[in-house]
Assembly symmetry: C2
Homo-oligomer: 496 residues x 2
C-alpha cells in the first residue's frame, strides 16, 4: 500500500517516495518565540507530528528539523516594522535572548503535553548567523542579490519562477511587498530583505560584510534546512499562511544558489477558526494553549485537532471540545475494559467463536485504517475506524463478558498501535492506571477493592445497612458505585 501526499506545489495528491530509500528528510516551520503558543500552533504541530509518526511507523527513518525563529521576524511582513522578539523584550524589560528562551521552553512544554514528539534538531536563527551570511554571499556572487546602504535584497526578477508555490506569479505577488512603504533603494517592489542594517537602538545585531545588522526572516529556513538536511529535502511543512511570501522566498533563495529543487513535497495545514471566525491578533480571539489546558486535558485537544483533516479548517468552540472529550473518554474506557477483560485460552463452541471472530475482524480494521492514513494522513477517517472498532469490542464484551486470548491480544495491539503510537491519543496502560484525574492510581484501586469486597460480603450477609452506608459515604467522597452482573465497579463522579 503506497502513501499519497497532497503536494501544495502542483496541488494534487502524489505518491510519496523519499529521495534516499528508507530516510525521509523533513523540515517544518517552527514558531516565532515571543509569546505563549495558541491553538493555531497546536493544529500545525500536532498535524505534522502525526505525519512523522506515520512515516516512522511505516518503517522510515525520519530526520525532522523544526526551527525556532528568535530574530528577524518583523511585525510587518514587508520588511518593515519592529523585530517581534525585541518588541516583547522591551515590554518585559529584559533581553531578547531571555524572551526567546523563555517562550521556546514554554512552547515545548505545551507541545510535550500535546504528546508532540520533539524534532531531531531544533536550530534557532540567532544561532546560525554565519550560515545565513554564507548564503547571502553566494546569492550576491550568483547575481541573485544586491547590497545597498548596508541592506541586502533578493532580486525577484533574477528568479523567474518566483511565486510558483503560492501561484502568485503575476503582478499581485510581485507587488505585495509594496503594501506599506516603498523602500526606494529596492530595485523591484517585491524584492525582499536578506540582511538588514540595524537601526539605532536595535538589540540583536551582528557584524557582516555589509553592515552591523541582522538577517531577514525568510533566510533562516533556507540556511538551516540545507545545513541539516541537504540541498533537496523530501517534505517541507508549515501553515498555509506561510505559503506566501515565506515559502516562496525560501524556494527563491535556495534554488537560485543550488539550481536544484529545494523541496519535493510541500505540505500546508489549514487554519483555526473560533466559533466560525478566523483567529487573529486584531480580533483578540487567540486561544492560548495554557489557558485551554486549565480546562481540558491536553490529550483532548490533540484528539479534537485530529478529528478534522490537517488541510481542513478547525473550528474551535466549547461544545466541539466537550464532544471530543466524551468521545475520548469512551476510547479510554474501552481500552481499559479490554486490558482488564477476562480471557480464556481454549475454544468457545464453534458457533460462538465464529461470531466473536467475525465481530472483531481486527485485520479488516487494520487495512481500513492504513488506507486512511496513507491517503494524505486522513486522521478523521482513521479515528472513525477506531470508533467502529471499539463499538465492536464493547458489543462482544457486553455479550460474552470475556475474550479469547489471541483476540484480546490483537485488539489491544490494534488500539495501542493506531490510537497510541500513531495518533498519540491513547493513554498508556501505566498512564491510565496512574492518572489522578479519572482513576486514582494503584493504591486507590487496591483500597477500593477492600471496600467493595466488604460491601459485597455485607450484601451476601443481607447486612444492607452496612452495604448502603458504604455506598453513600463513597458517594459523598465523590465516588460512584455501579452494580453489574460481574460485580461492582466504581468511578469518580464527574464534576458538575
Amino acid at each position: 500500500m503506497s502513501l499519497f501526499i497532497y503536494n501544495s506545489l502542483g496541488r494534487t495528491k502524489e505518491k510519496f517516495e523519499p529521495l534516499h530509500p528508507g530516510i525521509v528528510t523533513m523540515y517544518v516551520c517552527g514558531p516565532t518565540v515571543y509569546g505563549h503558543a495558541h491553538l493555531g500552533h497546536a493544529k500545525s504541530y500536532v498535524s505534522f507530528d502525526v505525519v512523522v509518526r506515520w512515516l516512522r511507523h511505516s518503517g522510515y527513518r525520519v530526520k525532522h528539523v523544526q526551527n525556532i525563529t528568535d530574530v528577524g521576524h518583523l511585525t510587518d511582513d514587508a520588511d518593515e516594522g519592529e523585530d517581534k522578539i525585541s518588541k516583547q523584550a522591551r515590554l518585559e524589560k529584559t533581553d531578547p535572548m531571555e524572551i526567546s528562551q523563555f517562550y521556546t521552553r514554554s512552547f515545548y512544554e505545551d507541545m510535550d503535553r500535546l504528546e508532540v514528539q520533539r524534532p531531531n534538531i531544533a536550530p534557532n536563527a540567532a544561532g546560525h548567523i554565519p550560515e545565513q551570511i554564507d548564503l547571502i554571499e553566494q546569492l550576491i556572487k550568483t547575481g541573485h542579490a544586491y547590497a545597498v546602504n548596508g541592506n541586502v535584497y533578493f532580486s525577484v526578477e533574477s528568479f523567474p519562477e518566483y511565486g510558483k508555490l503560492s501561484g502568485r506569479t503575476d503582478q499581485e505577488a510581485l507587488q505585495s511587498g509594496a503594501r506599506v512603504e516603498v523602500r526606494s533603494e529596492k530595485r523591484h517592489l517585491s524584492d525582499f530583505a536578506l540582511w538588514k542594517k540595524a537601526e539605532e537602538g536595535h538589540l540583536m545585531k551582528w557584524s557582516s560584510p555589509w553592515s552591523i545588522g541582522y538577517p531577514g526572516w525568510h533566510l533562516e529556513c533556507s540556511a538551516m534546512s540545507m545545513k541539516y538536511l541537504g540541498e533537496t529535502i523530501d517534505i517541507h511543512g508549515g501553515g498555509m499562511e506561510n505559503k506566501f511570501p515565506h515559502h516562496d522566498c525560501e524556494i527563491a533563495q535556495s534554488e537560485s544558489v543550488t539550481g536544484k529543487p529545494y523541496v519535493r513535497f510541500w505540505m500546508h495545514n489549514n487554519m483555526v477558526t473560533v466559533n466560525g471566525i478566523k483567529m487573529g491578533k486584531s480580533l483578540k480571539n487567540f486561544v492560548n494553549l495554557k489557558d485551554l489546558f486549565n480546562i481540558f486535558d491536553p490529550i483532548v485537544i490533540r484528539f479534537f485537532i485530529l478529528q478534522s483533516h490537517y488541510r481542513s479548517q478547525l473550528d474551535f468552540s466549547d461544545g466541539a471540545i466537550r464532544a471530543s472529550q466524551s468521545g475520548l473518554e469512551k476510547l479510554q474506557e474501552t481500552y481499559k475494559r479490554l486490558v482488564t477483560a477476562p480471557t480464556y485460552s481454549g475454544h468457545l463452541p464453534y458457533e460462538e467463536l465464529t461470531k466473536v471472530k467475525l465481530t472483531l475482524q481486527t485485520l479488516e480494521f487494520d487495512k481500513k485504517i492504513k488506507e486512511a492514513l496513507n491517503d494524505d494522513f486522513n486522521t478523521p477517517i482513521a479515528i472513525s475506524v477506531i470508533f467502529e472498532f471499539i463499538k465492536n469490542v464493547n458489543s462482544v464484551l457486553d455479550e460474552h463478558g470475556k475474550l479469547q486470548e489471541q483476540t484480546a491480544y490483537s485488539a489491544i495491539t490494534f488500539l495501542e498501535t493506531y490510537a497510541g503510537e500513531v495518533l498519540g491519543i491513547l493513554k498508556s496502560r501505566e498512564g491510565l492506571m496512574a492518572t489522578e484525574g479519572r482513576y486514582g492510581g494503584k493504591i486507590i484501586d487496591e483500597v477500593m477493592n477492600v471496600l467493595l469486597d466488604l460491601r459485597a460480603e455485607a450484601r451476601k450477609n443481607k447486612d444492607f445497612a452496612l452495604s448502603d452506608k458504604i455506598r453513600d459515604q463513597l458517594l459523598e467522597a465523590g465516588i460512584e458505585i455501579k452494580d453489574t452482573k460481574e460485580g461492582a465497579s466504581w468511578s469518580k463522579k464527574s464534576a458538575t
Copy 2:
C-alpha cells in the same frame, strides 16, 4: 546582616556587594552535552541554584547565565584530541547538533527534577560563532593573539597575570599545555587555541578570517558572559577542576581585551567521590543521575548534596543517601503534621503559652539560618537549624496536640521559606498531598477516611472481626493502620 562569599581569587571570604545596586550578574559554567548528567553535575548546579535562590530571597534581581558547550571541547585539554560531541555523534551515527540538543534536553530534565531553577539565559557555543570571532579579532588587534596555519593562539606571555586564579603562575602552569604533543607552531608551550582549523572530516566548522574551523573551548565563556552580562560580572561559578586551565584562560582572554576585571567573585564547588574514590572516566564509577532517580526521589539527592558544603567533597555511598532519605522524610512528615495540626486562635493559660512560644522561637531560628546562609552559603548548618526547629515543632505537638494560630503560621512560613523557597528540599503542600509515592492524593484520603470510619464504628460496636478484617486487608494492599489516642492514622508500608 551581610553576605560573605569565599572568593577563589584571593582565597578568602569577602563581603559581597554587587557592582550595580540591586542587580547581580552571575555566570556559571554549564555542561558539555555529549552524555547524560552525573552526580558531579548535580553537585555543581544544585550548589549554584542555592546561591541564586538565596540572592533572590535577599532581594537581588539575579541575571543568571549558564552556557551549553556544544562545540570545541576536545577530549584532551591541551588543544588536542577529538571534539567530544562529534565523537559521540559518530558513535550514535547522527549529527553533532542532534547529539547536543538531545543531551541538553536530558540535562534540563534532570535539573528540573532536582528543582534547579533554569538560568535566565542558556547560550550555546555553536550559536555564538560571530561573537567568538569578534573576540579573537580584538585579541589579535591588541597583540594578545596570533594566527598561524589557520589556527589562532592566545599568547600567555602577553598577559603577565596568566594563572592568577589557580595560582599556577610558575613553570608548572606555563608548561602544562605540553603534556601531550608539542605543537611547534605555538610560540610558547602554554599558549592555548582560540580558533582551530578543521581537519579532514571534522563535522562542526564555520568560515572565519583564518580558516574554516571552530572555536577553542575556553573562548565561548568569555564571549557569552561579556555579551549577556557585560565586561565585569559579579559572580562566576564552576567546578574546581575548571580553575585551570579553563577559568584562567577566560580571565586572560577577557581582561586582555577590556583592561577591566572580568569577574569580581570566583566561586568553585568541590568534587564528588564514590565510596571515597574520585569519580572519573577511567575508573568507570560515574553515578548517572537517571539511574539514581530510578532508586531515589530526586529531592533526596538534592537534600543529600546540600547536607555538605559546596566547597567540601561530597562522598556518595548508598548508606549516605539512605540516611538523607530518612532525614528528609522526617522533614516532610513534620511539615505535613504542621499544616494539618489543629490550631486555636485564643490564648492558652499563661504558663502553657510561654512554654509553647519559648519552645518554637521562630525568630531565633530565622536569625541562625540567615547567619548560616550569609556565611558563604553554608547549607549543612542551615539544614541543621531546620532539623533543630522541626524537633521543637514535634515536641510541642506531641505535648499539646495543637498550636496557637499565629505560632503555626510562623512555623509553616519558616519551613516554606527556608526548606522550600531557599533550599528547595520541601515538597509544596499541593505536591505533598498529590504525591503518589508516599501519600496517595486527595481521593485516597477520602476513601481511607470512609474505611477508617467504618473500622472505628466496628470497634465501637465491639465487632472486632470486622475491624481486624479491615486492618488485615489493608495491610495486604500495602497500607498500615496505626491506632493513636487521637484516632487511627494510616501510611503506606515502605517497600522492603
